[in-house]
């Protein structure tokens, strides 16, 4: 713990990451209280203030129907974070179990499990999610489902690689000689040695899930209006470039800030936990 704080202190970038993530999480949780126009979360119109550049009243300007962009971005963070947490809470454990079993058992289990993973990994991540959203209704739940389905194999691959190298370590041999069961060796001996890498990846992935989810809604395949979403805000605004630049630039920056925060934090965590890239 003391070591962790020392490393973080010696690494100002990671500290920046922690602060950015804290800000984003804070903004999402307290959006209803922070947002200057909390009702602009939904289908509200205020044509008197439609499509206005940033001002003292609307720090980031207003959208085409006069809603406050800053308020909508705060609410969009809520959606992004919930989506990220749900996706990772499912994808990480599923992938971990797959990877652990394939990596430790070897043989047929390895061949079959990893071929399944290969199948998923041989469709570019975004394309798989796009294809799934193509057949499903564009709702938040389905977006989570699509992103989860494309995400778990990456955990399987990561954990598989670690488990396969840990399998050769002396402590696994020791447990086998003593006669410990497969479940004990996989989950009590090997898994703890995979955790630092998994936790690091989950932190970094919070950012990447936000990217993928916003990409889906950018293509019109994710969360639907009037629910605020960073990706669809950029898509909507892109049609009014360059005049109404704030419509795209601020939601774009909002994505950048959140993801950059998770990336910096994950990078720092990698060092603290001693995880290889």
């Amino acid at each position: 713990m003391i070591r962790a704080i020392r490393i973080l202190a010696a690494n100002p970038l990671s500290l920046v990451g922690v602060i950015l993530v804290a800000l984003v999480v804070f903004a999402a949780i307290f959006a209803p209280w922070i947002a200057p126009f909390p009702t602009h979360n939904g289908a509200v119109v205020d044509f008197a203030f439609a499509n206005k550049p940033p001002s003292a009243r609307n720090w980031m300007g207003t959208d085409l129907v006069g809603r406050d962009l800053f308020s909508r971005i705060l609410y969009a963070y809520q959606i992004s974070l919930v989506l990220g947490v749900v996706v990772l809470a499912i994808a990480a454990p599923v992938g971990t179990i797959f990877g652990l079993l394939a990596g430790y058992l070897g043989g047929w289990a390895e061949a079959i499990l990893m071929r399944i993973v290969d199948v998923f990994l041989s469709i570019p991540p975004l394309v798989l999610a796009i294809a799934m959203m193509g057949v499903l209704e564009p709702t938040l739940t389905n977006a989570m489902l699509a992103v989860t389905v494309m995400w778990w194999p990456w955990y399987a691959r990561l954990v598989y690689a670690i488990a396969r190298s840990e399998r050769e370590e002396g402590y696994v041999l020791a447990a086998e000689v003593i006669g410990a069961g497969t479940a004990h060796i996989a989950f009590r001996e090997i898994l703890p040695n995979c955790l630092p890498a998994i936790i690091t990846k989950m932190t970094l992935d919070m950012g990447f899930v936000i990217i993928i989810a916003s990409s889906l809604s950018f293509l019109g395949l994710g969360v639907q209006p009037p629910t605020p979403d960073l990706g669809s805000m950029v898509a909507e605004g892109a049609r009014y470039l360059p005049d109404s630049w704030w419509l795209t630039v601020f939601p774009g920056l909002a994505i950048l800030i959140a993801v950059f925060g998770f990336n910096l934090m994950g990078d720092g965590l990698r060092e603290v936990l001693g995880v290889d890239e």
Partner: protein, 265 residues
């Protein structure tokens, strides 16, 4: 009475470049209470042999007998329990994410040794038996020196209350001063607990001071076996003489022994 016998053990591996004969038709007896040294250089098959004794690796053909019972490679828990291992590398043999005590306790939990409530106490006794303080059980392996880790490895094996210990180069990763103390500990434990050792090593000087009998291996073959005294004073095989001749020595009488062997070849 022989505790362990190996009958015509053969192990062959397949590789893209053809078959690899790791162990070629080896027969050996290990008597209750003795220390048999298995000596060889890399590629001699000594580790493959150890893995077959431990039931980690299935032999291609031949038998492993323990207490006159044929052991199949799929061992029962009880058969596993009586043959335990001490590994070479004290860095990798302990799980870095588990406490020293948890590692030692594994055998107790696996075989149901002692009442559940007493097990931490048994772990502490096991640590004290190998010369470590009882409170070390809560420490992480990273906080221990190489010698301490190796002692934990011994305690972990002994916690299963085995009859036979396979020691795979147990001191070759240690400094000389530490090695001397660990070897003394192993000798004391063997005497006090009536243990039987299969001591795998490439270091003939260590063998001379710990083994009762020696089996010399080269490229998977048993080249020569005999009592330690015989092997070091009247080695029969050319290879054995060469191995003894290559040992770097420090004393004049050691040099005399080496020179004598060189003359007789």
């Amino acid at each position: 009475m022989s505790l362990l016998s190996l009958e015509n053990l053969i192990k062959t591996f397949d590789s893209p470049a053809g078959k690899i004969h790791a162990v070629r038709d080896v027969s050996l007896e290990v008597t209750q209470g003795e220390c048999l040294a298995i000596v060889g250089e890399s590629g001699s098959g000594k580790t493959t042999l150890a893995n077959m004794i431990l039931g980690i690796l299935a032999q291609t053909s031949g038998n492993v007998l323990f207490n006159d019972t044929v052991l199949s490679p799929k061992r029962t828990p009880d058969q596993r329990r009586h043959i335990q291992l001490v590994q070479q590398n004290p860095l990798s043999s302990l799980n870095p994410k588990r406490s020293v005590g948890a590692s030692v306790r594994l055998g107790l939990d696996t075989y149901g040794i002692g009442a559940r409530a007493d097990r931490w106490q048994i772990v502490e006794q096991a640590l004290e038996a190998v010369g470590l303080p009882a409170n070390m059980r809560k420490r992480a392996p990273a906080a221990l020196s190489g010698g301490q880790r190796q002692r934990v490895g011994i305690a972990r094996a002994l916690a299963c209350e085995p009859e036979l210990l396979v020691l795979d180069e147990p001191t070759s990763a240690l400094d000389v001063l530490v090695q001397a103390r660990v070897l003394r500990l192993l000798n004391e434990l063997r005497a006090s607990r009536g243990l039987t050792y299969v001591f795998i090593t490439h270091d003939l000087a260590v063998v001379r001071n710990i083994a009762d009998r020696v089996a010399v291996f080269q490229s998977g073959r048993l080249v020569e076996s005999g009592t330690t005294e015989q092997i070091f004073t009247q080695p029969q095989a050319e290879y054995t003489r060469k191995l003894i001749g290559a040992v770097p020595v420090v004393d004049p009488d050691e040099m005399a022994l080496r020179d004598k062997l060189a003359e007789s070849s």
